[in-house]
Homo-oligomer: 378 residues x 2
């Protein structure tokens, strides 16, 4: 057994107990609402994590890259939703992945793309299953629920043999900007209403729409009625992070990932502790900068994972972290001699985990029980 103390730093630590609690909470919540979970693997990019997330679920996953699909297919995952608007240059790859009875559904939000997909499917002898992306909150992509384009896209897809409309999906990313639970709950209703309305419009026009998909960790957490929705997509709920804690979607104690780092020196007069985890290990994400509590580049914890009062990663260079007091108060840096191991809770789990190629998995203490590989890229 390796101890965290024996690792070279920086490195990514995953607390299995917290992970399993986070997974169970979402699983139970969605079970009560009677809706399936299609975990988004973009946060974890690890089969070991996804395997736990899929317990008690139908087995489908959501991916943000075709690389994720490629990595999960050999593990027997055969129902995959690629939830980023498709580009022409990826269609041959999708068709190749759909070989061997693997079902890869793609998404798009415009007639132009529908024509391209239908034509390429025909040329390749493949029928691409497609969800239409709906804009439920104005934050990014998608067709507005009342837009005429919705029906035109559906008809374009179903016109030939190269594609088939399978349903609708949306992601209420604007829930990340809601500053109260009540606003997130309202956003969850709006997210649901948008896709349910679109499914009804398509059905009324004679197009079947078996999949009605929503998802974001905040709306999934606070949804209280998902009538008409068939599945929920969520990813960051597995690990959580400071941004989600800032939204009250989780507590600091729920955050399952952290970056292990070592003190390399001090600037005593400035009250700075210098460590070997810079933005390369933490990511450049500063998502909490616009929240009520700005956590700078992360909350600093001791080796056991307990936050140290008001100690933050104030700034970063590529391989250096500069730690100090949140309020600029003088600090006794001597309490953190060279060689001290610390752990940093990240602003954004997706961004921080992406900087690492493995999880050092601990379970309630500092013994590394397993090393779980993770991948990156496209």
């Amino acid at each position: 057994m390796t101890e965290l103390q024996q690792l070279e730093t920086p490195g990514l630590v995953l607390e299995r107990g917290k992970l399993e609690c986070n997974l169970a909470r979402m699983r139970e919540h969605l079970a009560k609402l009677g809706v399936a979970l299609r975990p988004h693997v973009k946060t974890a990019k690890s089969y070991d994590v996804a395997r736990l997330a899929l317990k008690g679920q139908p087995g489908g996953i959501t991916v943000s890259t075709l690389k994720e699909a490629e990595q999960f297919i050999p593990h027997g995952i055969s129902d995959i939703l690629y939830a980023v608007g498709i580009t022409p240059n990826k269609l041959d790859h999708v068709a190749a992945l759909r070989h061997n009875a693997t079902d890869v559904t793609i998404i798009l939000d415009n007639v132009e793309s529908a024509h391209i997909v239908a034509a390429r499917g025909l040329a390749l002898g493949v029928k691409f299953p497609v969800l239409i992306e709906i804009d439920s909150d104005g934050h990014r992509s998608g067709v507005k629920p009342e837009d005429d384009a919705l029906l035109a896209i559906g008809r374009t897809l179903n016109a030939g043999r190269g594609a088939e409309l399978r349903g609708v999906m949306t992601h209420a990313g604007d829930s990340y900007n809601c500053d109260t639970t009540e606003k997130i709950r309202a956003m969850a209703r709006r997210e649901r209403d948008a896709v349910v309305r679109c499914a009804q419009r398509l059905a009324a026009a004679g197009m079947t729409c078996p999949i009605v998909s929503v998802g974001s960790t905040p709306t999934a957490t606070f949804s209280d009625d998902l009538t008409g929705v068939t599945e929920v997509r969520a990813g960051v709920y597995m690990f959580f992070d400071l941004f989600m804690a800032g939204l009250n979607v989780c507590s600091l104690d729920d955050i399952a990932v952290s970056v292990l780092t070592t003190v390399i020196g001090h600037q005593v007069d400035k009250g700075w502790i210098i460590t070997d985890a810079g933005w390369m290990a933490l990511s450049r994400d500063r998502g909490t900068a616009n929240q009520k509590v700005d956590q700078a580049y992360g909350v600093v914890c001791d080796l056991a994972g307990h936050p140290i009062d008001d100690l933050l990663v104030l700034s970063t260079n590529q391989e250096h972290g500069i730690l100090g007091d949140r309020n600029g108060r003088p600090m006794d840096v001597g309490k953190f001699p060279v060689g001290t191991l610390l752990r940093v809770l990240p602003n954004h789990a997706c961004a921080t985990a992406a900087q690492h190629d493995r999880y050092h998995v601990v379970h309630g203490d500092t013994v590394v029980q397993s090393v779980w590989p993770r991948f990156s890229g496209w």
Copy 2:
């Protein structure tokens, strides 16, 4: 031959012609100043790039991780400076790398670390060569040039058989905050003066100090006198980026790396073009946010790499870029139909390149001449 048009997006493009011009400019400048270049490989993390950067130089490199050392040693690079303050948990790894006549020099800035290194060297039967890090600008780590600790560190290192003082080094990272060329030039003098003074103090105390090392791309570019300095470290000059262009260290046209991306849709009423390069492909770096010209998440170019007037990546999600006019003016998004390929110049080449595992190398047009692998991690 592959064309850029045949690639799946997003992907990282490297223009070899621009790379070679950037390398030649720095090489000639430092040759005039009579000082050696020890390229920093943290930006490129690619032997193919480093090989070109090392032309006409003694052959030593600077690394920011031991992974970089590991990756370069098999290519015959035997003189390596690991330029991040050493941690106790990395010393055995450094000792292992020093096997087979490879010279890995480490750095530190405090007596505590000097004791740890000297003791571990003794235990392992290794003599660790060490540079003392000097704080020339107050931005991060290092001993102040007049600090008594300088001599104490040198004496601690040389006291036994586990370590040896080999010189001094500094990195004037604060040059990144200089808003005029004259201020960068002043910073370059300050950087030089700090290490030269420290080398003199150590020599006066009877400690030889053969290496006097400085480096940052801005100070290296604008230095006009490096008397007393033996080597310059720089990395981002190979690729340059929008941040360096904002400092007038390069022009937009010198930037050698960009991210290839495809249009996936539009929000016509908002004047948004949505693409498949989000922060995962571009990085979360927003370094230009505090410069005179804020380039948001990057300057958008056509497929040939020519900037499109006022078109920026305004915001990003994990795998989505939202493009629009810099000044919020209405845009005819129809000029960029679904499937259009674009290229994005990055804020920070080190951060953006780190999100990719290969360079698609082009030479003046859109034909991919080679694919150069790059690595990441620690």
